[in-house]
Symmetry: C2
Subunit: 594 residues, 2 copies
């Protein structure tokens, strides 16, 4: 039985940075080779970054990707890595884009995996199952591949697959069984969702059983706009044994020695599955998949004493997962977009306190700037709590009282009530943007998902900012995260920010509870309506108060126009207010006929 030393490169790439991503492939490939690996696999779309969205419609971009993968193969050989098999995701195309009205745009574009060997692209595979739900729009961008590529490498038949191919029964994994593959490589750009790692392992197990082969699953790590990729790469045998598993939210090279069946040990493999047809075979056959084979002579790995076992990394706690996603989401947005630093309003409340702690963990205190912007309605304890957090974390902290500017407007305009409340929030927005323009910081928004859902924020006021770390974090989870973070080393967040009743402090003695139900009651309704698409009746059946359901649903419906103009933020839930939830602004459908 041959043994392959496999490396799964769970690494970060940047959308559009083909040169930088190629350099990363060469760097990690060298490391894999130095560790004795014969094959290293990088994530889906490693070369281009993921998701590239409408960039795929630009011929110049696709051409750069295609040229880039050829250049990368040559460069790897020049690096002395020509006998390392390098599997890397990129964008390919059959020909120029179809643009006429009667043709389907994106025709011929492929979400591709290339196996680089000997200075050349030795084999290509085109993703077959294209996801087109949630954050995914791949039917817009790609044509599905209709053949499975199997590479005989080091005496083992290795099948190439991409991401969604593993999420659907049938298809490439059934074909891999028919082809008698000993190993199925699955390269991914699979975005994080809370507890998604709990779903992935059983999924990979099911598909390994379906293929009758070991599955090596490698996922990207890093963030792109709203999406965070959490890693969690792994290798699972056909019998469901988890051999090795990488960490979450960290770049790493997971190296493992895999004993695999020799390709010629299974002469009658085709008959084997034909005799026991799978229920999904019909679905598959309709796509007329052909099996392509490529043979490569790989050097068997020299036997060594140091048998490599990547080990199984522990899963981290839920709070640590979310926190890591928020930290990585912010760090990558800031760094990949070339910002030196971030700035935000630090009110002493829980939301901005948590944003400050995330920013410090993501960027270090020297890149974090906070501004206290008290009004006449700001309590003394709020200012004290903000100052205390700044002291604990070592971030830059200054005070800009807003009353003089607010008075400038009030002296010249006849404003009252809500207009005056919003005016204060907007003056704060103007101050933050002025400091951003003057000093070059990225402004962070600090509104949580609960507020955004029900529209409890001021458009162009506290909603100002280029990125919002809490965009997808419900208020109850904000508190939970604050408590958890305070248990990890020195507590950055003053206890008072966690325990006091939340308030916008835009009028005397204002409390969130004047306008909104208790967050412990509100958040489950938001989850049901937003994340789970439940209607009024289902929410009431679930035990929520009918009048409250009606009120909350109406607020959520009417806040759509505000969300349309909100900053991006890391997705952590089933449905963030981003690419995964797309609703009309003009919408008269009222649950329960309100």
């Amino acid at each position: 039985m041959p043994t392959l030393r496999i490396a799964l490169a769970q690494v970060n790439s940047t959308v559009g940075d083909i040169a930088g991503n190629s350099a990363a492939v060469r760097r990690w490939s060298r490391e894999a080779a130095e560790a004795g690996a014969q094959l290293v696999a990088f994530p889906e779309m490693m070369l281009t970054g993921y998701p590239i969205e409408d960039l795929v419609f630009r011929d110049s971009f696709v051409a750069a990707s295609r040229a880039g993968v050829d250049q990368l193969a040559a460069d790897l050989a020049a690096d002395g890595l020509g006998d390392l098999a390098v599997v890397v995701g990129y964008v390919d195309a059959d020909g120029p884009a179809a643009t006429s009205a009667e043709a389907t745009p994106g025709r011929g574009r492929r979400d591709a995996s290339a196996l680089l060997f000997g200075g050349k692209v030795a084999a290509r595979y085109f993703k077959h199952h294209l996801p087109n739900y949630g954050v995914f729009d791949e039917d817009r961008y790609f044509e599905p591949g209709d053949s499975l590529t199997v590479v005989r490498f080091g005496g083992v038949d290795v099948a190439l697959t991409v991401c969604e191919d593993i999420w659907q029964a049938g298809g490439p994994f059934t074909a891999a069984r028919r082809a008698g593959a000993g190993l199925v490589l699955n390269i991914n750009a699979s975005p994080y969702e809370l507890n998604k790692d709990d779903v992935r392992l059983p999924l990979v197990m099911r598909r390994a059983a379906e293929a009758g082969a070991t599955v090596a699953y490698v996922n990207a790590v890093g963030a792109q706009d709203e999406l965070v990729f959490d890693g969690d790469s792994m290798i699972v045998t056909a019998h469901g044994e988890l051999l090795t598993r990488a960490g979450q939210f960290t770049e790493e090279l997971l190296i493992h020695d895999l004993p695999l069946p020799a390709a010629d040990a299974q002469p009658n493999k085709a008959e084997k599955t034909d005799a026991a047809p799978l229920p999904i075979v019909e679905q598959w056959i309709s796509h007329d998949m052909e099996i392509e084979r490529v043979s490569l002579a790989a050097e068997p790995h020299p036997s060594r004493r140091d048998k490599r076992d990547g080990g199984v990394a522990d899963r981290i706690a839920d709070e640590a997962e979310v926190w890591s996603a928020l930290v990585l989401g912010l760090r990558d947005y800031v760094n990949k977009n070339g910002f030196r630093s971030v700035i935000f309003g630090l009110s002493g409340g829980i939301d901005s306190a948590v944003v400050a702690a995330i920013a410090v963990d993501a960027l270090g205190p020297s890149r974090v700037f906070a501004v206290s912007m008290p009004s006449g309605y700001s309590s003394a304890h709020s200012r004290d709590d903000a100052a205390e957090l700044a002291k604990r974390t070592g971030i830059d902290y200054r005070t800009e009282p807003i009353q003089p500017m607010v008075d400038g407007f009030l002296a010249n305009m006849a404003l009252s009530g809500l207009a005056v409340e919003n005016l204060q929030a907007r003056v704060r927005g103007v101050i933050l943007m002025a400091l951003s323009n003057q000093e070059g910081h990225l402004v962070l928004t600090t509104g949580n998902k609960s507020e955004l859902a029900v529209g409890y924020s001021t458009l162009y006021g506290d909603s100002v900012g280029g990125f919002n770390p809490l965009k997808d974090v419900p208020k109850t989870m904000v508190w939970q995260l604050a408590r958890w973070r305070n248990t990890q080393g020195d507590p950055p967040i003053p206890e008072n920010s966690i325990t006091k009743a939340p308030s916008a402090e835009l009028r005397p003695d204002q409390k969130d509870s004047d306008s909104l139900p208790d967050y412990a009651v509100l958040d489950p309704i938001i989850k049901g309506y937003v994340d789970d698409d439940l209607g009024r009746d289902a929410l009431i059946e679930a035990g929520n108060d009918p009048a409250l359901v009606d009120r909350v649903l109406r607020l959520v419906d009417l806040a759509e126009y505000k969300r349309r103009q909100s900053a991006p933020g890391p997705k952590i839930s089933g449905k963030a207010f981003g690419r995964d939830r797309r609703l009309p602004i003009t919408n008269r459908f009222r649950e329960g006929g309100l």
Copy 2:
């Protein structure tokens, strides 16, 4: 040869307003019946509005649509219209939504057409070709139908189809030929694009020839968020004769007497096409379309002297087309969202002048509020031009000088350069939003497509607003529209606003030309890069200056984050900055490797 009196109801519906849309169907159906029509056809998704986007994932919404169409059939019969065949678009579903991770969301949802007759849904058809490009995401939302529905009505075989079915060769129209249909009904929600009407007529002609049948094409009219539907309904014979055509951007009932072949006059119709296979037949057969037939006894239309001929409405000029789209887009956004009035900054420049004229045409002067917000850098002629426009149009007009508020910030913060320029724009934004909160107006943004493309605007400053009529209008077209509008009756726009050099007036003697190339040079580059997805090399080959191309492309790339937070506005081009162009914010791909 039987004659059917057909009515095409080119009407407006509102997303989510199932009750209101049903009432409209009943009202227009009564009118059609009173005109002696035997069959009336309404647009795609008439009952639910279009596009419904992620509302389709809410079971309660789909259930409301399904119940709504049954109720509508019963109501029509109760109205005494049971013997009128009413074809209406709605959302149907095979069963509850699939939500598990391995299932495809949206499974079983159908973009459907129902034929209502005798108080019941007599026949249903599910759209077969689902568009998934540009503004369309229908692979996300629907499953394609796989059978053609043919209704024998008044002795004629009538095939039902929906929208995209007509944009692709093969499919339902080929099946209609095979079925020997005498008439193909095609119901649409086809969004406006400049000159799209020039494409539609030849398209309908091609498909009528393909079906070997007369085609009745009915389109929606009205606006929904970014989309404007322009009507342009028509009837075309198999021989390419345009029998009748409705107006553009107007609700109307297009009534026409159609002599059609009797269903039993073509006994060998199936053989006819089998003998001469179409090149697209193969594509179609892979979907295994079955043909379903429904028979209805319709009263032949009583012969009358007043033979009905809908006539062929003249096409309007390009400028009139765009103007109508902008007026309808604004009017429907304002009215469908329940706003009483709009407010915006009126600077004396061309953009806000054109917005004012659009708003007056859309809403009448009593619902339009303009604010002059001069600074120390505002020229006297600017203020005069703004006042003159207000006088000519009769809109509400007031002056709020910004200097006192700007000074309030400058006295308390050390700001300079761009920060001071942006501060002025943001103070104007705060003033407009304060007036919006105080008086209840919708704030309109007045930035044109050229500015938005290159990021020549202040985030939370002049970009403030809930809707932007000029979002998809390049600056050169803004001037063109102004000149054209001034030729239609009394000229609303002062000549000086059209002829003077454009300026943001944020520093002394500032001109747009300090920062940007001439708009006559800039706009074609933007069109090539944004609308046509051309890369750097293609733009230079087209004759643009290389250095200028590099500069503009970089500006467009870097403005993505601003556009992400911009208000919606009516789409008039191949690619607006909306649902039809989706790019990552973080994107390091630089054309030419900049």
